[in-house]
Symmetry: C2
């Protein structure tokens, strides 16, 4: 990635990408910006503006080549460089993420899961093994894995994060509702489902109720 | 909510709220803006600016009253008005969301789950029953439920969304990677985990690799 792409544009590019995957599955070769815009209820000019950020948008007379546009989005977002990660907490959410097919498409490889529950340790989720959490420091050495997806209960989130950091994890994608205390060099990305719900709720429901 | 609160501020307010819940659990009565700022690695002035949006920030000489600040965030975000919802797709992700404790704190009540799998129908997740999807039109009438959380596989996302819309669902919180085709009056909120990962990945990993 040469330039930093704003969050909202990034969100739209992944949605365009999903539409392109669907077109490919349906055997359709070309797509126009108004078709994409209509699908997302946004303005055509917005789509064209976003496409200007792409390295090579593959435009032709009848629109854009679906496969070139897809490649171009992938190249621009840089997700062909794959990233390895582990999931810490093999409960429902951790297991759901281990099975989330779209992660593979975007270069996120879940290598293993970790838990402290003896009933989970030794089982497999989507072909990935669940290990005892105590083995994490050894198992993330070769190949070196720096990203952990944290899906433990809120009550043990901090304690688990402390252990991950001791074990040399550098990036934590935090799906717990806990606000983690971490040293400045550790990057935490909060997947804030509550904030997401509130945005949805405040914008759409309440404007209607108050309006 | 009187004024529209920007997305980023909303995200921070929910993080402040999580910190306040933790302080209450630890029996601490007051909190200062630098304490909050340090915890989130942001600037103190940002915290104080955000608090100006609150209806009543409950400031006192030694800082803010934890409980008043918490009430004030809750009032400002309007999440004391509860919302009923159903989860469509009782797989791992749907079940994880049915158990996600923080939703209750923020006024989102999951009333039931729906699925087409005979092995899931009739079971319970976190005390909530899993019903046959065909029963949804009847079961969302009294009380009227307009919000569906969609957690089915990508391959049947569109077909299921069509059925929800026929059944008079008006708001879809879409956790599938599919981009849904819906009429203009239906509101879809895409929970875009891929975009979230890419933001994290592009910002933090790649800047390091390229730098």
């Amino acid at each position: 990635m040469k330039t930093e792409i704003p969050e909202k544009v990034l969100g739209r590019l992944t949605l365009y990408h999903s539409i392109l995957i669907e077109y490919i599955e349906d055997g359709i070769d070309t797509i126009s910006s108004p078709q994409i815009a209509a699908r997302l209820n946004i303005d055509d000019s917005q789509v064209r503006k976003d496409f200007k950020l792409l390295n090579n948008a593959g435009r032709c007379r009848v629109g854009y080549s679906v496969s070139e546009l897809k490649d171009s989005i992938e190249e621009t977002l840089g997700f062909k460089k794959s990233k390895d990660a582990v999931i810490v907490g093999a409960g429902l959410l951790g297991s759901a993420l281990a099975k989330y097919v779209a992660f593979n498409d975007y270069g996120l490889n879940i290598r293993a899961l970790f838990d402290v529950d003896p009933n989970k340790i030794g089982t497999e989720v989507n072909g990935k093994q669940v290990f005892d959490l105590s083995r994490l420091p050894d198992l993330i050495r070769e190949p070196e894995i720096e990203l952990a997806i944290l899906t433990v209960p809120r009550s043990c989130a901090q304690k688990t994060a402390d252990f991950l950091i001791e074990s040399k994890i550098k990036y934590i994608w935090n799906f717990t509702p806990a606000v983690l205390k971490v040293p400045a060099e550790i990057k935490v990305w909060n997947e804030n489902l509550i904030a997401s719900f509130l945005q949805f709720a405040c914008r759409d429901f309440q404007s209607e109720e108050n309006g």
